[in-house]
C-alpha cells in the first residue's frame, strides 16, 4: 500500500470512529473535517426528505439522519441523489408510525421525479388523431420521471397536505390505503391522487406491451373501471411516453 493510501485509510477510519487512534485526530482542527462531512450528508437528507423533517421535527429527524449517515454514508459525490435507502431507516425507527416510512417513500419519489431524464410525453391530441388499429398497436411506457405507489397508510394525503401548506401540523385524514402519482413537466414536479385502478394501469404500462393487450388485460381484472377516463388522466399528467418501434 502506498503512503498516500495508508494515510487515507487511517484518516477515513478516524472520521468514522468516535475515539480515533491517529495522532492527527487529536488536533482541534480534526473536528472541522468530521463536522463538514457529516453536515453535508445531513443537509442532503433534510433537502431530500422535507416532509419527513416536518412530521418528525428537527430533533428526531436529526437523530435519524445522523444514524443513517453513519451506517450508509454517501457513495457518490452527487449529493442531490443521496439517501435512496433513507426510507428503510425511517421504517426501522418508526415501526409504530408506518405512515412515516410511506411519506419518506413519497419524498424519495419527488427527488427521483425531479432529477429524472427529460423526454417528450405522449399528448392527448396525438392519441386522438390515431386510427383504432394504430392505437391498439401503440407501445406506451412510463415517462422517466413518472413515479407511483399504493400505500397501506394515507401517506399521500398527509404528504400533499404538508406540501401544500408548510405550516400545517395537524391534518385530518381517513385512515385507509391510498395511491399517488408524481410526474414532471420541463420545469416542475406535480402530483395526482391515484385509485387502485390507476395504480394497476400504471403497473401495466410499466410492464410494457401493445396498447390493445394492456387494455384487454386491464379490463379483464377491472371490468368496472373507466379505462378511457384513467388513460386521459395519465396523458394529461404527462406520465407516458411513446415506445413504439417502427
Amino acid at each position: 500500500m502506498s503512503d498516500l493510501a495508508s494515510f487515507q485509510a487511517q484518516f477515513a477510519q478516524a472520521l468514522a470512529s468516535t475515539a480515533p487512534a491517529a495522532a492527527f485526530a487529536r488536533q482541534p482542527g480534526f473536528a472541522i473535517y468530521r463536522n463538514t462531512s457529516l453536515k453535508a450528508a445531513l443537509d442532503a437528507l433534510a433537502a431530500g426528505y422535507p416532509t419527513v423533517l416536518q412530521l418528525l421535527g428537527t430533533e428526531e429527524f436529526q437523530r435519524l439522519a445522523i444514524d443513517h449517515a453513519r451506517r450508509s454514508p454517501p457513495r457518490s459525490p452527487v449529493l442531490a441523489d443521496y439517501g435512496s435507502d433513507f426510507p428503510a431507516t425511517c421504517a426501522e425507527a418508526a415501526v409504530d408510525r408506518p405512515h412515516i416510512a410511506d411519506v419518506s417513500r413519497i419524498d424519495r419519489f419527488w427527488t427521483e421525479t425531479h432529477l429524472a431524464a427529460d423526454a417528450a410525453p405522449v399528448r392527448a391530441e396525438t392519441i386522438a388523431g390515431l386510427a383504432p388499429d394504430a392505437l391498439t398497436a401503440l407501445h406506451l411506457g412510463l415517462h422517466p420521471a413518472t413515479r407511483y405507489g399504493w400505500f397501506a397508510t394515507p401517506a399521500p394525503s398527509i404528504w400533499i397536505g404538508h406540501r401544500n401548506d408548510a405550516d400545517l401540523t395537524e391534518i385530518t385524514v381517513d385512515w385507509q390505503p391510498e395511491g399517488l402519482l408524481l410526474t414532471r413537466s420541463a420545469s416542475a414536479v406535480s402530483w395526482h391522487r391515484a385509485g387502485d385502478d390507476m395504480v394497476a394501469l400504471l403497473k401495466a404500462f410499466e410492464s410494457g406491451g401493445p396498447m390493445g393487450t394492456i387494455a384487454s388485460d386491464f379490463l379483464s381484472h377491472h371490468p368496472d373501471a373507466d379505462l378511457a377516463g384513467l388513460f386521459a388522466r395519465l396523458l394529461e399528467a404527462g406520465a407516458l411516453i411513446d415506445q413504439t418501434i417502427f
Binding site: 503512503d3 498516500l4 484518516f11 472520521l15 482542527g29 480534526f30 473535517y33 425531479h114 432529477l115 414532471r184
Partner: protein, 278 residues
C-alpha cells in the same frame, strides 16, 4: 475572454443572475450539482449558460485520492464540459473518496513524493478524459500533518510543470491555512509560479466557535475579510489580472451584496497592469 470577475452561482439567485446588466459577468457552478439525468436543474444551468460564460468547479473527483479517478465521474464531467462549454474547469488539491465511501469534503494529505507522482498521474488521466486543461485549487488546511516532502506552493508548482495543469489560487484558503498552520501568507503567494495561475477565488471565513481566531474555518458564509482583500491586491500586483470569483455558499445575502463585492474586485483588477515579463 476578457479578464473579469464572476460570482459563484446559487439557484436562489437565478432570476437576478440572468437579468442583471453587468458587462463581463460570469458564473461558476459546482459540477456535481448538475450531474443529474435531466429536469429543472439542468434547464436552469442551460438558461444561465445562454446568458453568461460559466466556469465548472468540481468538488468530488478526489484528485488527491490514492486510487485512479472514478471513470463514471469522469464521464459525467466530460458530458457537462461538452454540453455547457465552460471557459475554465477546476478541481481541488484534496481527496474525498476512500473505497466505496465519499466524504462531501476536501480532505488533506501529506505532500510526499509518492503523493506527487500519484496526483500528476490522476491529473493526466483527467485532462485526457476531458480533452482539456484543468485548474487545481489550493485547499484550506486545519491540521499539521507529518510526512510532507514539499511545501504546498512547491508541490502545486511541480504538478503544474509535470501535468500541464494550471492553478486556481483561493486567496481566502491561503489566509485560512496560513493562520491555522502558522506560516506567512504573502511568502506563500510569492512562491507560486505566476505563469501557471489562471484563476483566483475570494471568499469569507469564520473563526472556530470554541478556539476563535486561532482556528479559522473556510465557511463561505460571510463577506470577504479585509486581510483577504489585501492579499488579493498583493497577488494581482505581482502576477497581473486573472479571472476572479466571488464565492458565497451559505448564509446567502441579496444578489446585490455579492455584486458589490464583485465590483470591488473588478475595480482592483482594472487598476493593475499585466506585467511585461512574469
Amino acid at each position: 475572454m476578457e479578464t473579469t470577475v464572476g460570482i459563484g452561482f446559487k439557484a436562489e439567485h437565478f432570476e437576478d443572475a440572468i437579468t442583471v446588466p453587468a458587462a463581463g459577468l460570469w458564473f461558476e457552478v459546482h459540477a456535481e450539482n448538475y450531474m443529474v439525468a435531466g429536469g429543472p436543474r439542468v434547464a436552469m444551468l442551460s438558461a444561465l449558460r445562454a446568458a453568461w460564460p460559466i466556469s465548472l468547479h468540481g468538488v468530488g473527483l478526489s484528485i488527491a485520492g490514492a486510487a485512479d479517478p472514478d471513470p463514471g465521474h469522469l464521464r459525467r464531467l466530460r458530458a457537462l464540459v461538452d454540453c455547457f462549454q465552460p471557459f475554465l474547469v477546476s478541481e481541488h488539491l484534496a481527496w474525498s473518496r476512500h473505497g466505496e465511501t465519499c466524504f462531501p469534503d476536501l480532505l488533506p494529505f501529506p505532500r510526499s513524493n509518492g503523493a506527487l507522482d500519484r496526483i500528476v498521474k490522476t491529473i493526466d488521466i483527467t485532462q485526457n478524459a476531458l480533452g482539456r486543461q484543468i485548474l487545481i485549487e489550493n485547499p484550506s488546511l486545519y491540521l499539521a500533518l507529518d510526512g510532507h516532502d514539499w511545501s504546498e506552493p512547491a508541490f502545486l508548482s511541480e504538478i503544474a510543470d509535470r501535468s500541464g495543469c494550471a492553478l486556481l489560487v483561493d486567496v481566502n484558503n491561503v489566509h485560512v491555512s496560513a493562520n491555522n498552520l502558522g506560516y506567512d501568507a504573502r511568502a506563500y503567494l510569492d512562491a507560486l509560479p505566476a505563469h501557471a495561475i489562471e484563476e483566483i477565488h475570494l471568499a469569507g471565513h469564520t473563526p472556530d466557535p470554541i478556539l476563535g481566531e486561532a482556528l479559522l474555518i473556510d465557511s463561505h458564509d460571510a463577506a470577504i475579510a479585509d486581510p483577504v482583500w489585501a492579499l488579493y491586491r498583493h497577488l494581482i500586483n505581482r502576477i497581473g489580472p486573472r479571472p476572479t470569483l466571488i464565492e458565497r455558499d451559505d448564509n446567502l445575502p441579496a444578489f446585490s451584496t455579492l455584486m458589490a463585492e464583485r465590483n470591488r474586485a473588478a475595480a482592483m483588477l482594472a487598476s493593475v497592469q499585466e506585467p511585461a515579463c512574469v
